[in-house]
């Protein structure tokens, strides 16, 4: 997990809250939240190596394909659910968003922006974008549902999801004037705090 990203998410997570992180990777975000905010965190991950990292960090983790189960955890009363850089890999991102907002009142979603100018340039030259943020070629990528910042915000509107807070990261992976001014063109990543209306 990018350090700058976790600094943005950190204040949105309630102290001693119960947190579920879908696509938690090696568990470093949850580990940091456990240390700094004393949360009870659970990660959901499919990759065995990453699961091992979580276990060695003492981060509770569940092996699960996110596409197959978000609902399973609905009896658990989470304060917040997180899905960082994973929603674009899901078969049904809209369903996933709605399900996360059933698990917890609020959720954090981060996603790469296909509207970023370098991606547009790639397309203008007739090629699928390959950038540092989207490094895999079209036939190898897990990102099957890429969208732009505008597309994502449209979806939230359509689904009755309120955007409580948002931060846009520029090319250096941190907030910048350009990325805040015109995120759809200059942000590489959008970071959202969402709530069901």
């Amino acid at each position: 997990m990018n350090n700058k990203l976790s600094k943005i998410i950190n204040p949105w997570v309630p102290k001693e809250g119960k947190v579920i992180d879908f696509g938690c990777g090696d568990g470093s975000l949850l580990e940091e939240l456990m240390k700094t905010k004393n949360i009870l965190g659970y990660g959901v991950e499919i990759n065995d190596k990453k699961i091992e990292s979580c276990v060695s960090k003492g981060v509770p983790v569940i092996k699960q394909d996110i596409d197959k189960g978000i609902n399973e955890f609905k009896s658990s009363n989470f304060d917040i659910s997180i899905m960082a850089r994973s929603i674009q890999c899901l078969k049904d991102p809209s369903l996933a968003l709605n399900r996360m907002l059933k698990l917890s009142k609020r959720c954090v979603v981060t996603l790469p922006n296909l509207g970023y100018w370098k991606c547009r340039l790639n397309l203008a030259y007739g090629r699928m974008p390959v950038t540092p943020e989207l490094p895999s070629s079209w036939h190898e990528t897990d990102n099957i549902h890429l969208c732009t910042i505008n597309d994502f915000e449209d979806l939230c509107k359509k689904e009755g999801i309120r955007i409580m807070n948002k931060v846009f990261l520029g090319s250096n992976g941190a907030q910048s004037n350009l990325s805040s001014l015109s995120p759809n063109l200059f942000a590489i990543e959008g970071v959202y705090l969402l709530e069901k209306q």
């Binding site: 699961i51 091992e52 276990v55 060695s56 509770p60 983790v61 699960q64 955890f73 009896s75 009363n77």
Partner: protein, 362 residues
Amino acid sequence: MNVKTELITFNTGMALENGHKLDSFELMVESYGKLNKTKTNAILVCHAFSGNHHASGKNKVNEIGWWDEIIGPNKSIDTNKYYVVCCNNLGGCSGSSGPKSINPSSNKPYGSNFPLVTVSDWVNSQKMLMEKLDIPYWHFVVGGSLGGMQALQWSIAYPDKIKKAGIFAAAAKSSTQNIAMNEVARESIRKDHNFHDGNYLEHGVIPKNGIKTARMLGHITYLSEQHMNQRFGRKFQDDSSKVGLDVDFEVENYLQYKGEKFSEIFDANTYILMTKAMDGYDAASKSDDLSSALKGVLAELLIIGFYSDWLYPPERGKEIQIAAMNNNIKSSYVVLNGEHGHDSFLFHSDKYSQIISKFIES
């Protein structure tokens, strides 16, 4: 490795879940490694249905322990660092009090009169063992299958005496199918003409055929279809190594051989008692549901399932995970491929061993 095998007597006896009281009992105990000065490094290993106290290393008759791939110096349960204890469960046939022991009131073997014990009874007897060994709490209680049920029960029954629990290839209760399979096995034992209502020792015989058939069925349920296909396929057994003339296929020979060996060492009444305990276990039996049953649990849980296990499939572990999360218990649920079906919990694989050692150390 520092190995100690001892028979420990509990003269105070214990009250059993079904209302019976054992006036005194004995447990056959094996331990590896050393309890450290602060007494913080004790691990209890609980055996599955046909296991015993001999979990690691070679014993006097050169038998390798049932979890030797996992327990030992520098293995995932590292006996250089931890003091590892394993006992033959009450009602077993490897030295602890059980149906083969002499009933003091009749001076004959208990046979079928040995009281039916439960998973809770085992955990209670292991708690007495813990105190006897002067261990303040277990750093980790772990087991696979029926052993996993004991680890779960430990976390429920003695929340402040266990820091971590490992529940592998197990469930919070046996399924209908599990009970059904066990009943077929028990029936084959009961219908053996040498069974004599469980009092075969008095008649100087053992219901060998019944135990053998039961074990053959058991073996099928412990393996996966894929594993059996790969290992035996439809290969014919060599004439030179056939156990009997009726045998055609390798798989037949394997089951015949395994069943025969088992029938020579395992006690029929213990078979019935152990499977009854397994069938009867329901972690939620005294609560509304599994979530309420786990309410007081303080231990961190590691639940491991195997995709190839159809006897206690990973979904059963998931049920425990969900109930744990409902109770804000720090709990992880890991599913591994496992080549050996239900038996996968017995074998080392890099991923399996890594997860276990990292969980113990974390």
